[in-house]
């Protein structure tokens, strides 16, 4: 050999060939894991069933509390039955009204309106509500100065009371659809007709609304459409609205439909001929 060199590539390593072609897990074998599981299970069972003083104490305390609650419940039952006997006759109506009103009286209500959609329906509520309402009015920065006089004329006539239970804030904003907001987080009620539906739930004695009558809802929807319809179609829609008209738009009593229609028609500059003047004057008297 001329030159002895270090071996660079080694091919002499032993290559282990596999003896088994396919390796499958033994399905029958009880593996070690299960044994460990069993051991833990035993320990837990021992722990739960064993004598544990704290647990038993808790149990006895719970039993005592439950007994006390039962006694209290009996007492309240007797007291309430006594009360019922006293108050049954006189206060049914007021309890109904106060029940409803106490369900829906948020402390602060915000009503966002466009200056072209003044809330004439407020007058009737402010007149007849037995909960004092304090109204404040704000003009939003988006309102152009030409509308300020109109807004001022309306707000000056609004009644407001001291020591209120409910604060009502009117915000006049340009080109806004009417919105009733009860809190910052909930979705507002949009549209005058829907606001009236809500108000009739809050004041069922002032604004009668028969929920079960689908014709009433249909008429309210016609009012909603009338608000958004163009000048040309107004007469046709008004005729549809007054289809059942006798003394009032629907039936022989003042209802939410009359209020919705009156509020809408009052926004128009001139009451058109196709609207009954008699009916309009009746509504005007109620709402002034």
């Amino acid at each position: 050999m001329m030159y002895v060199m270090k071996r660079i590539v080694d091919h002499d390593d032993k290559i282990e060939l596999p003896k088994c072609m396919y390796h499958i897990k033994n399905p029958i074998d009880l593996t070690e894991e299960d044994e460990i599981c069993l051991k833990i299970n035993e320990k837990v069972l021992k722990f739960i069933k064993g004598p544990n003083n704290k647990m038993t104490e808790l149990e006895t305390r719970q039993d005592e509390l439950l007994n006390k609650l039962e006694i209290l419940y009996e007492r309240i039952k007797t007291i309430s039955s006594q009360c019922k006997l006293d108050n049954m006759s006189a206060n049914i109506q007021s309890s109904n009204a106060s029940k409803v009103e106490s369900v829906i009286t948020p402390e602060e209500v915000v009503l966002v309106l466009s200056p072209d959609s003044l809330p004439w329906y407020l007058n009737i509520i402010l007149k007849k509500s037995n909960l004092p309402i304090h109204t404040t009015c704000h003009v939003h920065s988006s309102v152009p100065s030409e509308k300020l006089a109109k807004i001022k004329a309306f707000t000056q006539k609004l009644k407001t009371s001291e020591n209120p239970k409910v604060n009502l804030r009117l915000i006049f904003k340009a080109a806004a659809d009417s919105e009733l907001k009860l809190s910052a987080l909930s979705t507002p009620i949009l549209g005058n007709v829907n606001i009236l539906r809500y108000l009739s739930l809050a004041y069922p004695t002032i604004i009668p609304y028969d929920h079960n009558d689908h014709i009433v809802d249909n008429l309210l929807d016609i009012c909603h459409v009338l608000e958004r319809t163009s000048e040309k179609n107004k007469e046709a829609v008004v005729n549809r609205l007054f289809a059942h008209y006798k003394t009032w738009i629907y039936g022989d009593k003042f209802s939410v439909v009359d209020l919705a229609a009156y509020n809408l028609i009052k926004q128009w500059r001139n009451t058109p001929k196709f609207v009954s003047k008699v009916w309009f004057d009746k509504c005007e008297k109620l709402c002034s």
Partner: protein, 533 residues
């Protein structure tokens, strides 16, 4: 410019010096090539025709008020319009950019926020030579130039300038003051809108520190010009509205002997043989002015707060607009006056500075400011209730933290659609010692805060004007009564009930425009890390 450094030869480091030598050789080669190129390009101009526009362009002699050209009438760039088509005008403006190509040079002239296109093209009749065109192309950016030109209607509107329907065709062009050739930042980059709609637009922006280090250049951008004009408007409206309401402007001292708000955050100055402090607020002096029968006062001046806060809304020195007013029966008289002042100020800004607000809006896209008239007034328990509904609980006698205030701002905006509101009847425990407690509920006080876009801008209250109650409250707060003896003494001389508050000018402008950092609305801001320019 490539700078060639002489390689420092270290004994024994042969490899390093070899590299350095190679570098030096390369730079020498480059420079040689440049010189050759310059020489070759310079040759044609020296060989060209004689310059027939001599006397119509060049660097003007330094204006030392020697009395020349006093009859020259200059026109402002913003007044150039189609009505002046055909007229010859003199304009002094800055050269924003120039682009020379052969026989023509297009340049953009800028004066405050208005820009107009300038065209210099070779023309024998009008005596404009190639040399003049070349000279115009070589004027450095941001130099001030005097141009005599005719106003010409453009065939198509110039999109890149604010004056779109006319351009200037030059007759004479003179440099009044040239800027150096390498500017630390480009005005175009500094004025580029933060978020661009076009996907192809350049994304180069200038970072805030660079802007503040080169404030003189940065202030030339149209947005900054507009911001500081709006700031001037706020100050002027504040003065005018209050003066109309019968207020008197006073100026209070800034070098004082004792800290007013609370000991920690005052700057100390050496005052002859002892030391004094820089005023944290004009509080004490406003009240003394009321006790001195001035009835209704306001003051505009610097306020110094040594707070080590590096936030987007704190400065160590800012301009404070403070007011104090005596009232007859209820501090709401003052509260309504302050609220009314703000509403009038917002309305004044909206009506008189609409174009400036639009200019700012082009660079920093922001929603317009909404407010109600009369301003929305909520009480502290109501605010706590609103926050509770949203899942944040605030204790009965706790102050609102900054995140609470921001959330409350968003809730108020969702419910009432206003960016400005007043929060009345804060808990007594979190207010300074001179705040008058609420007569109906000792846990609350006759104090209020005002918020814009969810951030506090004003803190005010009815002040205690009875010296005994004041001393007692000071003791309860652990304030050393000997240090404020003079202050308490001024109430022993008969003082009417009064209330007031103060706002920071920069913060109000920042929040009105909806900007994100107070350094954008302070011309030369001061904060814990910056004392220059």
């Amino acid at each position: 410019m490539v700078k060639s450094e002489d390689p420092s030869i270290v004994v024994g480091d042969a490899a390093a010096s070899k590299k350095a030598a190679k570098k030096a050789a390369k730079t020498a080669e480059k420079q040689q090539k440049k010189a050759e190129h310059k020489a070759s390009s310079a040759q044609p101009s020296t060989e060209s025709e004689p310059d027939f526009s001599e006397g119509l362009y060049g660097n003007m002699k330094m204006i030392q008020s020697s009395g020349e050209h006093r009859d020259r009438v200059y026109t402002d760039v913003e007044n150039l319009s189609i009505k002046m088509d055909g007229q010859t005008v003199w304009v002094r403006a800055r050269l924003q950019t120039s682009r020379a190509k052969g026989k023509q040079c297009f340049a953009v002239l800028r004066q405050t926020s208005s820009t107009v296109q300038l065209l210099v093209s070779v023309n024998e009749q009008r005596k404009i030579s190639k040399q003049m065109v070349k000279f115009t192309g070589n004027i450095t950016r941001e130099s001030i130039v005097d141009v005599e030109a005719s106003v010409v209607r453009t065939a198509a509107p110039v999109e890149s300038c604010t004056i779109k329907d006319v351009e200037l065709v030059a007759h004479q062009i003179w440099t009044v003051s040239s800027a150096r050739s390498q500017l630390p930042l480009q005005i175009e980059d500094a004025a580029r809108p933060e978020k661009s709609d076009e996907p192809e637009a350049l994304k180069i922006r200038v970072n805030q520190d660079t802007r503040l280090d080169n404030r003189v250049l940065d202030l030339r951008t149209p947005a900054n010009q507009a911001v500081f004009r709006i700031e001037a408007g706020v100050c002027r409206l504040f003065r005018d509205i209050l003066t109309k309401k019968g207020f008197v402007e006073i100026h209070t001292p800034k070098i004082i002997s004792a800290a007013s708000e609370g000991g920690a955050n005052v700057f100390t100055v050496s005052y002859f043989k002892s030391s004094a402090y820089l005023a944290q607020s004009p509080q004490l002096y406003k009240q003394m002015a009321i006790a001195a029968d001035f009835d209704k006062v306001f003051t505009v001046g610097a306020v110094f707060r040594a707070e080590d806060s590096n936030t987007h809304r704190h400065l160590t020195e800012f301009v404070g607009l403070d007011l104090e007013m005596s009232f007859k029966q209820h501090y709401h008289e003052v509260l309504d006056t302050i609220g009314g002042t703000f509403t009038e100020m917002f309305r004044g800004l909206r009506d008189q500075f609409a174009s400036e607000i639009a200019t700012v809006g082009q660079q920093y896209r922001v929603e317009p400011f909404k407010f109600l008239d009369p301003p929305l007034k909520l009480e502290f328990p109501q605010a706590v209730q609103m926050l509770k509904e949203a899942g944040v609980s605030v204790g009965d006698e706790d102050d609102l933290s900054t995140p609470d205030e921001k959330l409350l701002g968003r809730l108020v905006r969702a419910k009432y659609d206003t960016d400005f509101y007043i929060l009345d009847k804060y808990p007594l425990a979190v207010r300074p010692f001179y705040t008058m407690p609420d007569p109906g509920n000792p846990k609350y006080s006759n104090s209020y805060d005002m918020f814009m876009r969810g951030e506090e801008i004003l803190s005010g209250a009815q002040r205690i004007h009875d010296p005994d109650l004041l001393a007692e409250r000071a003791r309860l707060h652990g304030v050393d009564t000997s240090k404020i003896a003079a202050y308490i003494e001024s109430f022993r001389l008969g003082c009417p009930p009064h209330a007031g508050g103060g706002i920071g000018l920069e913060r109000v402008v920042m929040l009105y425009l909806g900007l994100d950092n107070i350094r954008k609305t302070s011309m030369f801001p001061r904060d814990p890390k910056r004392v220059t320019p």
